[in-house]
Amino acid sequence: MPRAIVLNQADNVATLLDAGRAGEPCTLQGEASGQMTLLQDVPFGHKVCIADTPQSADVLKYGQVIGRASRNLKAGEHMHVHNIESTRARGDLEKR
């Protein structure tokens, strides 16, 4: 079973320490325990959502903000550039 590490109890993401397949459960370790079923394939080192997160809410890893949800996210979803966006150094937003 793929492993997923949670770094802080406040986090809504876990990092996969093994590649995982859609429909497969992964084992949570670190600051959480239990299992989470993956809704999509998640490559090694990529993140999975571990708590439903509404659009524009903060995404937390290490207990710190790493960006915001660019749409509503369900626990078990692969989380990456397609659904998390940075809020820093965004000259493109200032220009609009």
Binding site: R88, R90, G91, D92, E94
Partner: protein
């Protein structure tokens, strides 16, 4: 018992961990001669550069100072400067001679390439012979200035190799040594945490100003920094945002207080943890750290980035079990036990500290043996 390493004590009491004659180009048009001499004479490293000719004002002064910083690095026993003409060459030579180390010069004008190579080769031969008389002696860890950097990062970096380097950093500082962390843009999103570690307001303000300055550069240009931070390979490795990358990158600095902020290539005068304001790309950043006097650079990598510094040998530390297999030739230290075997970061970091002493005492690194080393000095203005 305090740890020691075997180093080369220099004229100015700085300690080198290598004993090279640096053949340094004063400007880009000298590079072919620099490379030829360094290839011909054993014990030499070529330190090439781009531009300089045509730079002016503060930008030129910065270029000279960076080249001189590489020459002043204590890993360099002696310097042969290769210049186009006398006055610019002397400008760099003057800045290196403050260390008391031998500095020789050759010029392309007026006699051309072949005569310059011949004269330079003879001078390098003598410098290399003299340098070979130096002997390593036990030196305290307090004599070390180590750069910490990361490249080809992924999500394993912030969980394994970078915190292991952070443990090394804490151990070196505890022993009275100095650590320099840099890569300004890679603090965006973590600077609020790092700023809290500043010893006073002026250090904190200087650090925050540097990071905000970098962020404003992206904002003023109207660009989305996400095109380059995180880089495409960072993203393949699972890093989603610069904030996430920064939080992992900061782990390299351990937990010591931040005592000083340095300009690009500036050498620290205090002991302890410093931040250097310099661009993040590997070759550019390693060159800045080497110009600032780092004897070694510790480079955390996830998806793998092989390049090393010419002047400050680069220890590649990796905690990604896949990269350790596919790029084994390029990795010096395996930190994968943290994620694969549940090893403690402190234990792996202590092992890295012991390895650091070996490397400082002469154990060679992959990028040295394979000669995958490069120099790139940043520039901040256009030439005339």
């Amino acid at each position: 018992m305090a740890m020691t390493f075997l180093g080369y004590r220099r004229e100015n009491d700085a300690v080198g961990v290598r004993n090279w004659v640096a053949v340094i180009s004063v400007m880009d048009n000298c590079n072919p001669v620099t490379r030829t001499i360094a290839q011909t004479v054993s014990g030499c490293i070529p330190v090439t550069t781009l531009f300089v000719r045509g730079q002016f004002g503060a930008d030129l002064d910065f270029a000279y100072e960076s080249l001189a910083g590489l020459g002043r690095n204590p890993n360099v026993a002696a310097v042969l400067l290769v210049g186009l003409e006398d006055s610019s060459t002397e400008e760099v030579a003057r800045r290196i001679r403050t260390t008391g180390k031998p500095v020789e010069t050759v010029h392309l004008q007026p006699n051309g390439t072949i005569d310059c190579i011949a004269a330079g080769t003879r001078k390098a031969l003598k410098l290399s012979l003299a340098a070979s008389r130096a002997r390593r002696e036990p030196c305290p860890v307090s004599a070390l200035v180590l750069g910490v950097e990361c490249g080809g990062s992924d999500t394993t970096s912030g969980l394994s190799c970078n915190p292991a380097i952070g443990r090394l950093a804490d151990r070196v500082i505890e022993a009275g040594g100095t650590i320099i962390i840099s890569e300004t843009s890679e603090f965006i999103g973590a600077e609020h945490l790092f700023a809290e570690r500043a010893v006073d307001d002026s250090v904190r303000d200087a650090f925050v100003k540097a990071v905000r300055g970098m962020e404003n550069l992206a904002i003023e240009r109207g660009v989305d920094m996400r095109e380059s931070q995180p880089s495409p390979d960072n993203k393949r490795g699972g890093l989603t945002t610069v904030e996430e990358k920064a939080l992992g990158a900061m782990a390299k600095a351990g937990s010591s207080p931040l005592v000083g902020v340095l300009r690009y290539g500036e050498a620290p005068v205090k002991k302890g943890l410093h931040f250097m304001d310099a661009p993040a790309a590997a070759v550019e950043n390693l060159s800045a750290l080497a110009a600032g006097g780092c004897q070694l650079t510790f480079f955390g990598t996830g998806v793998g980035n092989p390049i090393g510094s010419m002047v400050a040998p680069t220890v590649k530390v990796c905690g990604n079990v896949n990269t350790l297999e596919t790029m084994a030739d390029n990795i010096d230290f395996d930190a994968s036990g943290i994620l694969e075997k549940g090893q403690k970061i402190s234990d792996v970091g202590d092992r890295l500290y012991a390895y650091a002493m070996d490397v400082a005492s002469g154990t060679r690194l992959s990028s040295e043996i394979l000669d995958i080393r490069e120099t790139a000095i940043s520039r901040f203005a256009l030439s005339l």
